[in-house]
């Protein structure tokens, strides 16, 4: 159970904590571990806003209000579901198995109240830190399936993802399940969080189909440009900031010098990977397209962050930069690749979270002697297979019951007008024929052509 082993490692390094009678310091360690969870957890919660702004900036203006609503409401769903089912299913009595137990979660800090701080941190702080991760997986999905999915169908999917799919696979690697027994190493969730969101998004994108007008019969790609680049940039800055908590908090301890040193290294490497990913992506697009597409630079930074997430503690700064840089290049190449397959990924979620989530997981052994490539590979495959199957079932069940896609006319008018009944920017004159004529604003021109 990663959560505990690392902490115990910390405890052992710190004699004063190992000795039971030496209460005071041990209590301070308990306080510091708890506070670290809370502060880092707040930073991870903030990432939900980052995804929200990134996606609001990369969808067309007629779908912005809807994507805002999805991004904030999915975080509400994550909190409720992780309380009702998720936490215990992920962490309660997994014991090397395939899932935990069902049941509401409740805080139990009796031991600590009685002066026994061996738990290491308060129950609530741990729940909080684990819960915010769950929300991140949903955010990945929302960006990929944007501009065409029905609001309530999307939220229904999030319920299952947060309540069942995410916690079950999470129990394997983080809850002390079979993968962790095998020695699978995924420090902060390249696989367990990002690729899981990616696989769920992939099945969703395929089952939903592309937005009308994105691909012409001739196979040509009609860009549907995002409506607000500064918002997308803000979202990326927020994600970058939150990621220090995402990875840094995953040290799961702050009660001793060893943990503090590890947290420092993790944050520094997280930063270097983002730098590497962004700069590599910028150079790549400059070379490929002779211009630097901002959205690719943003994707590059996120790609670097996802890539380092599986193993941010072991690399040197240089290695972290390179791991991130490879991620940035992969993301730039993956975008046209998915377009060739006519898999319509609105914000590049697959290129960033799925592709780099896999890359990052497989890259762990490069700098971490204890990790084995084979085990990492098994973890990637097993998680992918599980999520593809379960999420496909959910998407299809929704498709053949309440439906998952808005009507062609609703898509043309925009989800905001049809599903939310309001506009995101009502005071502004929108152009209904954009760069590639007829595309932005109203895509139906392509619709009728195709």
């Amino acid at each position: 159970m990663k959560k505990f082993t690392i902490l115990l490692a910390g405890l052992l390094l710190l004699p004063t904590l190992a000795l039971a009678e030496d209460a005071p310091v041990s209590e301070i360690s308990y306080v510091l571990n708890t506070f670290s969870f809370l502060v880092m957890g707040i930073l991870v919660m903030w990432m939900a806003a980052g995804f929200g702004m990134l996606e609001s900036g990369l969808v067309r203006s007629k779908n912005v209000a809807t994507i805002c609503l999805k991004n904030i409401s999915l975080f509400g769903i994550a909190g409720i579901l992780f309380y009702l089912v998720g936490y215990n299913l992920m962490y309660a009595g997994v014991d090397g198995g395939f899932m935990g137990s069902f049941g509401l979660w409740g805080a139990d800090d009796a031991a600590a109240a009685a002066g026994d701080y061996s738990a290491g941190y308060s129950a609530g702080s741990d729940w909080f830190f684990q819960m915010v991760f769950c929300g991140a997986a949903c955010s990945v999905v929302s960006g990929c399936v944007a501009e065409r999915i029905k609001l309530w169908s999307f939220l229904a999917f999030c319920v299952v993802l947060c309540g069942i799919i995410y916690p079950i696979q999470g129990s394997w690697g983080w809850g002390g399940g079979w993968l962790s027994e095998m020695g699978f190493s995924d420090y902060a969730g390249s696989t367990i969080v990002h690729s899981v969101g990616g696989w769920a998004a992939l099945t969703g994108a395929i089952i939903l189909g592309a937005r009308k007008g994105k691909y012409s019969k001739s196979g040509q790609v009609n860009p549907l440009p995002g409506s607000n680049i500064p918002l997308a940039t803000l979202g990326t800055f927020i994600l970058w900031m939150g990621w220090y908590g995402f990875n840094g908090g995953s040290v799961l301890a702050l009660g001793d010098a060893a943990s503090a040193i590890e947290m420092s290294n993790v944050m520094v490497n997280t930063n270097m990977a983002a730098c590497g990913g962004m700069i590599a992506a910028m150079i790549m697009v400059q070379v490929l397209y002779k211009k630097v597409d901002v959205t690719m630079a943003l994707n590059g930074a996120l790609a670097g962050l996802v890539s380092i997430t599986a193993g941010p503690a072991t690399p040197s700064l240089g290695a972290a930069t390179l791991i991130g840089g490879v991620g940035g290049i992969l993301a730039v190449l993956a975008v046209p690749f998915f377009d060739k397959l006519k898999i319509d990924d609105v914000v590049g979620a697959l290129s960033v979270h799925l592709v780099c989530g896999i890359w990052g997981t497989l890259a762990v052994p490069i700098t971490d002697g204890e990790a084995s490539f084979v085990t990492q590979f098994i973890g990637v495959i097993a998680t992918g297979a599980f999520v593809i199957i379960t999420s496909s079932i959910v998407w299809l069940a929704l498709k053949y019951t309440i439906g998952i896609r808005v009507s062609e006319e609703e898509e043309m008018l925009g989800c905001d007008a049809c599903e939310i009944g309001m506009e995101a920017y009502p005071d502004f004159q929108r152009v209904s024929f954009g760069g590639s004529s007829g595309v932005s604003g109203y895509t139906a021109s392509s619709v009728t052509r195709d």
């Binding site: 209904s432 024929f433 004529s437 109203y442 021109s445 009728t448």
Partner: protein, 112 residues
């Protein structure tokens, strides 16, 4: 020369443009307008109060063409812009007495 002014549904612009290009119409001027007519808008909701969208986004296409071309242009636009659903729009034809190309000062049909 005549001005052919077309009020169409925004998503029809591409088809109209393509048809014109095929007919060898070298230029046109397009603008965003809002239309009021038989086609009724949808209602929106804001903080518990509903309201009607009276004005529907339309595109106005202005083409100045020679008198002979008018008929062909009109029928082409009518064909391309029509969906058979209410709100398809109108085509208005009026007279243009003079036309000048700013760059060259050419006037009349050569300026188009």
């Amino acid at each position: 020369m005549k001005k052919v002014e077309c009020i169409i549904k925004p998503f029809k612009l591409d088809d109209v443009k393509t048809a014109m290009t095929e007919m060898g119409i070298s230029g046109m001027t397009v603008s965003e307008v809002r239309g009021f007519g038989r086609q009724k808008g949808h209602t929106e909701l804001y903080r518990g109060a509903e309201y009607q969208i009276d004005f529907i986004p339309k595109i106005k296409v202005e083409l100045v063409v020679s008198a002979e071309q008018v008929e062909a242009v009109v029928s082409a636009v009518q064909r391309e812009a029509s969906t058979g659903r209410i709100g398809d729009g109108k085509i208005f034809v009026s007279a243009i007495e003079q036309s000048i190309r700013i760059r060259t000062g050419e006037s009349g049909e050569d300026s188009l």
